[in-house]
Amino acid sequence: MPPIKRTKFKLSSEQLLEMFYWLKLIRAFDLRLSTLVKQGKVRSGVYTGIGQEAIIVGTCFGLRREDFICPLHRDLGAFLMKGVDARTMMSQMFAKVTGLSKGRDSALHSGVNELGIFGNTSMLGANLPVAAGIGYTFKMEKSDNVVIAYFGEGASNVGDFHEALNFAGVQQLPIVFICENNQYAYSVPLEKTMAIDDVAIRAEGYGFEGIAINGNDVLAVYQAMQGALARARGGDGPTLIECKTYRWHGHSEHDKAFYRTDEELAMWKSRDPIPTFTTYLRARHVLDDAKLKEIEDRAAQTIDDAVEFASNAPDPAPEDAVTDLYA
């Protein structure tokens, strides 16, 4: 199998700024959600990905509409980048009829087939066989579209992970498996859940390449992703990219995360993907103060508008607790 090409990629200033906007928007969205939970305006069920944004931006940037993503519970940004508007996502969190599930579920358990988004259940890893099924249809159609399947290092211990990656390897499916290794499965640290350091090496057992990268460097993620996408689109099968990262908040917003030290959190905050990328953009003269303000304002306005919209959107009717069960 050909190794992942360390493709040289060229991103225009506009593209780099667009990436930066997504990082900012996703961060702002999650921070606002966290506040809304504390204010009692959004009822629980909120799993933020603060600190992990570079993974979503680096993997979703430039995807085709026809490519299919199978995000996990922290990947709200993936929905936004794949084309769901912020109003809809905020409505989903407010359990309003204008949300994806019309109030049936506040979390990310709802997809949009037309935009190539699958919504998983709470059973972590259960999206991976589904991703294999979507990838299988691309194979049947001899299409060069790709499935991007996300999972945490915790979910790599679930049986569905094995069944899905094995099938993907056997069938050489066009899938990029993205491991968001944020070091903890809820409260349990990685060293208690696996006897290896890198989830990436598990790929070898399924006959394809796995690589471990810095998941807090959006360009490193993007570069690895471009290599894996080229392989998948070229018919050379799946790749596993393990992105090392850290979630700043608890497992969910109600979790105080007392199982980790302040020092550890501070160390990872010093690796915040956003300042790192900001420094890079400034050094390349892509970003200046004016542009920074413009992007931050744009993100803030989008969030404000979404909150305003969702707050005023209609609640579901009680009788809809039993509808939409059957076609």
Binding site: F68, G99, L100, S101, K102, R104, D105, H109, S110, G111, V112, N113, F118, G119, T121, S122, M123, A126, L128, P129, V130, A131, A132, G133, I134, G135, Y136, T137, K139, M140, G159, D160, E163, A164, N166, F167, V170, T323, D324, L325, Y326, A327
Partner: protein, 328 residues
């Protein structure tokens, strides 16, 4: 004269016809490829439709269902084979949490047109893990449909209906009937057996007997015996367990006022329990006797044929209960 097929051949014919009709239909499962399936149901399909549409999978029941769900979201209509219904527990989460809830949590914006074929049932010497009747697990899950044909005609017609249905359907095919049940099958390409409709197999006025799957055989035999004793039993084949045909049951009860339900599944919280409860709530006034049940006892299917025969409902037990019912 129309041709006759075995129940097993009828299933195969339904698969082949639907695959010819609709390129989005494909089958996947363990040993379904060139080998033709553990029971031979998919024989010939690989030859006709090739590797891509007749997929030999690893031993991965959860993935088999999950792959089916994924394909369904791109407009395909996969038919997943569980080698034995007993193994369906390995794919349970994908059926009950992924497939059954998808439309609901998508706010009605998506459908899940998958079929899970599950060879079920005892009386074949299969022992604990090749004899089970796990239909009640799925009847208990809103969002699914559950069917269980008893004739070759229904085996074909219901499978075609299941494949064309936009909801996830669990299709219980009874192993005892594979080669024992034979008969005519639907001939026209669009002749199907609708999901949700029971069938009256025998008219009667003295009592109603509800059954499905392989239990239709001893049920009809018991009804014949009662007829010789001057008791006319109406025998209804449920065919669909979720949603079951309440109207047909109520209509028959209006005539007979007495009901016996026979299930090969274990006794506690099976379909008989639910039907009985619905009748208590909605049809109590029509009854002249309590609803009675003949079921498997609450135990596991043993290997010894002596032990298994002790468990399986048979014509003797059904006839004895029918006598009790009409004499009540």
């Amino acid at each position: 004269m129309s041709k006759e097929l075995s129940y097993l051949e009828a299933i195969r014919e339904a698969l082949a016809e639907e695959m010819r009709r609709d390129p989005k239909v494909f089958v996947l499962g363990e040993d379904v490829g060139p080998y033709g399936g553990a029971f031979g149901v998919t024989q010939g399909l690989h030859e006709e439709f090739g590797d891509l549409r007749v997929v030999d999978t690893p031993i991965s029941e959860s993935a088999i269902i999950g792959i089916s769900i994924g394909a369904s979201q791109r407009g395909y209509r996969p038919v997943a084979e569980m080698q034995f219904a007993d193994f369906i527990s390995c794919g349970f989460d994908q059926i009950v949490n992924q497939a059954a809830t998808l439309r609901f949590r998508y706010g009605g914006r998506a459908t899940v047109p998958i079929v899970v074929r599950a060879p079920s049932g005892g009386n074949v010497g299969g022992g604990l893990y090749h004899s089970q009747n796990p239909e009640a697990w799925f009847i208990h899950r809103p969002g699914l449909k559950v069917v269980a044909p008893s004739t070759a005609y229904d085996a074909k017609g219901l499978l075609k209906a299941a494949i064309r249905d936009d909801n996830p359907v669990v299709y219980f095919e009874h192993k005892y009937l594979y080669r024992r049940a034979k008969g005519p099958v639907p001939e026209g390409d669009d002749e199907i057996v609708p999901i949700g409709a029971a069938a009256t197999r025998r008219e009667g006025t003295d009592a109603t007997l509800l059954a499905y799957g392989a239990m239709m055989l001893p049920s009809l035999e018991a009804a014949d015996r009662l007829a010789k004793e001057g008791v006319e039993v109406e025998v209804i084949d449920l065919r669909t367990l979720l949603p079951f045909d309440k109207a047909a049951i109520f209509q028959s009860l209006d005539k007979t006022s007495r009901l016996l339900i026979v299930q090969e599944d274990v006794r506690t919280l099976g379909i008989a329990s639910e039907i009985s409860a619905v009748i208590m709530e909605e049809k109590f006034d029509a009854l002249d006797a309590p609803v009675m049940r003949v079921t498997y006892p609450d135990t596991h299917p043993p290997f010894s044929h002596i032990l298994e025969a002790a468990n399986l409902p048979n014509a003797d037990r059904i006839a004895a209960t029918l006598r009790k019912l009409v004499e009540y």
